[in-house]
Symmetry: C2
Amino acid sequence: MTPAAPPTRRPGGRTARIRAQVLDAVRAELGEHGYDGLTMDAVAARAGVHRATVYRRWGDVGGLLADVLDAAGDDDWQPPDTASLKGDLAALNHEIQAALTAQPPIVAALIAASFRSEKADHAQRRLWEDRYARCEIIVSRAVRRGELPPRTDARRLLIAATAPLYHQLVLLRTPPDPHLPDHAARTAALAASAGAFADDQGG
Amino acid sequence: MTPAAPPTRRPGGRTARIRAQVLDAVRAELGEHGYDGLTMDAVAARAGVHRATVYRRWGDVGGLLADVLDAAGDDDWQPPDTASLKGDLAALNHEIQAALTAQPPIVAALIAASFRSEKADHAQRRLWEDRYARCEIIVSRAVRRGELPPRTDARRLLIAATAPLYHQLVLLRTPPDPHLPDHAARTAALAASAGAFADDQGG
């Protein structure tokens, strides 16, 4: 679920290399200074790329942030496979908690930026949608193992399992609770086994 | 759970009256223009109060937002009492969903502003802390009725019940799901009855 992946390999030519340099610079500037300190000029300088290139290709800070988020989704990330629903959700939650509390706080800064920039907002929502869609395999595996009823609402279950982490860390901004990833996973798995997310329970 | 209460009665003298006028103006400006359009001068003009008074008393936009949030917590709000855990959580969630989707979007704008202004951040956290503390009576009533084990972790249960609404509406920004308030309440109540929030289950 980590929106900001570490710098990836750099295939392709000059265009791909410039993009990688610029996006690395955006992440670094964002981690150091947050949204308020992020400027096109600082990114260009840090990346060692002409300012004109950065303006032409990304337009503004929102364009840079959106491209960082889009690049984060352009990977082969798959949710953990631990052979149990509770284990998969717990491992997923540990990844989320690690990303949200990482230093420098790039993921947290990107989420905060999504309240400021419409382009970042759209890109952040695309990324979350993509991540949650990939995570649905956690639920279909659990159904296949007979852990869950066949018509379980995967998205609702995944939201229930992961929402407490986002709520505590992003909105309530309480110190990270090391037990919460496991606890929220266990709670959601327990409710799911009891049929709380079976489709015919809507409403 | 509504952070921005409607304008309240105005006891007290001139100072209290000016505060009420100014905070009403902040809410109105915020609802119409969001954080980006909120200025000290517009608030002073709308409130019909001298600019100098607004600057002297609130300092900056962050000070205005913090005072709106503090004023919202200065009420006699109590969580709904429906005589069942599931009913109380559902009624609470309906209040939260209504506040987060209200037009004009004052509550949503205040949450967004808490990512921009340190003063608003602190005030928003104080308000949430106060609201969740008041909601703990939902859990103690359920324990008294024998619906829950005596040593249930009230805060964790309340977070689990309410987090999906905040996650969907504030972070994922998906359209409001009319079933979610009831569903998230029922899921949390089900897990709670199964002992998911019993204190000895930590970790």
